[in-house]
Amino acid sequence: MGVFRVLKDDRGGQLLLLFLTVVAIVIPLLNLLVPEGSPFHVTTYTVSLFGKYLTYALLAVAVDLVWGYLGILSLGHAAFFALGGYVMGMYLMRQIGDRGVYGDPILPDFMVFLNWKELPWFWHGLDMFWFAAIMIALVPGLLAFVFGWLAFRSRVTGVYLSIITQALTFALMLAFFRNEMGFGGNNGLTDFKEILGFSLQSDATKVGLFVASAVALALGYLACRWIVTSKLGRVTVAIRDAEDRTRFIGYRVEYFKLWVFTFSAVLAGIAGALYVPQVGIINPGEFSPLNSIELVIWVAIGGRYTLYGAVIGALLVNYAKTLLTGVWPDAWLFALGAMFVLVTLFLPKGIAGIFRRKPA
């Protein structure tokens, strides 16, 4: 079957899927069935925290797809993540209905506060989940498509492309900070009540979102793995290593880059959409260039060109971040920098490189 073919010769991927299956079954049980006093009880806070890590991991997989397999170092991937998150946030805002502070049945609180009389056109339709779900994929995908079409057609590569992606996310951040954009300005979107009719405060919903994140990560991983094991994946690696050569044997390099980049952006958008209901807020800070850079560091630490390495990196670094910022917040950036330097010096293939046998 397809899944077996895709995971053949992929020990890391097999372990990852096993891990996700176990986690998606055990953690909900420990949260919902084990009584609160028991040492085995997992708090709802922890469930959401891990759920957040899983969405980060999906984002990291998306980055590894374009960086490790296509050679495009995108320093703006958090922008696609945040766009997916904003679409989800808009859907959740529309679900609040008249339970907001101002009690307006249609307008979200911040619009009432700004004295707006009616809903901007781009907020329409987002009260329907199916429409929001389409937009979650479409909005980041469309941005990536247009951006990629312009950049790849002009054959912008390497560090120049990285800088442009960085500028892209920075520009979006500045735009979303503005109140008149209609996305809640610097407060962003928050105070969500329910998703698909389930209260976001309830344990069961949070567990459901956690499981959804695990499933999304597993599916996203399989999809990426399917791409990289196909002939298309071999073409992308060929483009990474010798772009001109690939052109001269008849491949339209621009189209391949565009396709994979757009797909990766859609994955990032989906990750963002799962992230927002679990953390309960989305604001322009998510577009911050620093986020995109940090995310590249996760992938570098985990080990690029493996896909599962990106997951390891995202989970480990974020877990470390949670621990360390709890104890000594000021030290985090130094720790992150130190980790990056050490991994680059001693583990150039990242953590996944330790496990990986040398290619024959």
């Binding site: 290593d241 690939t246 001269f248 008849g250």
Partner: protein, 276 residues
Amino acid sequence: MSMLSDVRETMRRDEVWSFMAPPPSLDLDISHGPILYLEELNVSFDGFKAINDLTLYIDAGELRCIIGPNGAGKTTMMDIITGKTRPDSGKAFFGQRIDLLKLSEPQIATAGIGRKFQKPTVFEFHRVIDNLELALRAEKGVWPTLFAKLSSEQQDYLDETLDLIGLKEQRNAMAGSLSHGQKQWLEIGMLLVQQPHLLLVDEPVAGMTHQEMDRTAELLVSLAGKHSVVVVEHDMDFVRSIARKVTVLHQGSVLAEGSMDDVQNDQRVIDVYLGG
């Protein structure tokens, strides 16, 4: 001024707008003999004339050697044919109808021109067999590639080619682990499986042993007839062993053309090569 000329170019009445014109034809028509027409080409880089009024015809099925001192424009000529460099003026046609100057690199490759580079470039992170698979003549769009599967005939064909280029043992080795000579052979193999009508081969025997050189010569000679082959080479012994017709380039244009003996006895050629 330039805007005005842009507008005029767009509004020309003798042809439809470029985006409305049908896509360029990729059918090769060699009914008049030559497969490649280069006429009055000029290229200059920052004032240096790399190609100077170059006119050259290659007949279908011919094996042509091109020699010339460094900087004679051999590689630039190949760049023009394969779409990497656009000439300042002149014409380049593949067969009667295919205007090379209007096509992109992948389109030219699809039309049937294959190129081997001076420095062997293979995909080092892929296995030898995958290198051939990537080059194999097939639909090369994004979707066909995503769902591509090798048929058993294609599989056999790739294995035959591996045999031919003597890399059967290295079938599953990483291309990056091959020796220089083996990479040259792999690249020739990649050229073959593209099944081009015209092969441009830039310095095929650099870094090869004498034995390997002889085999390369044999292979190239056997290709001529079915394909047209253009070989750029510095190694005179090698050129002598394969050449029927030799073209000498000098300062971006053709200095002499003829059999190896004619060319070697040509006074101008001797002057250029020996610095007379």
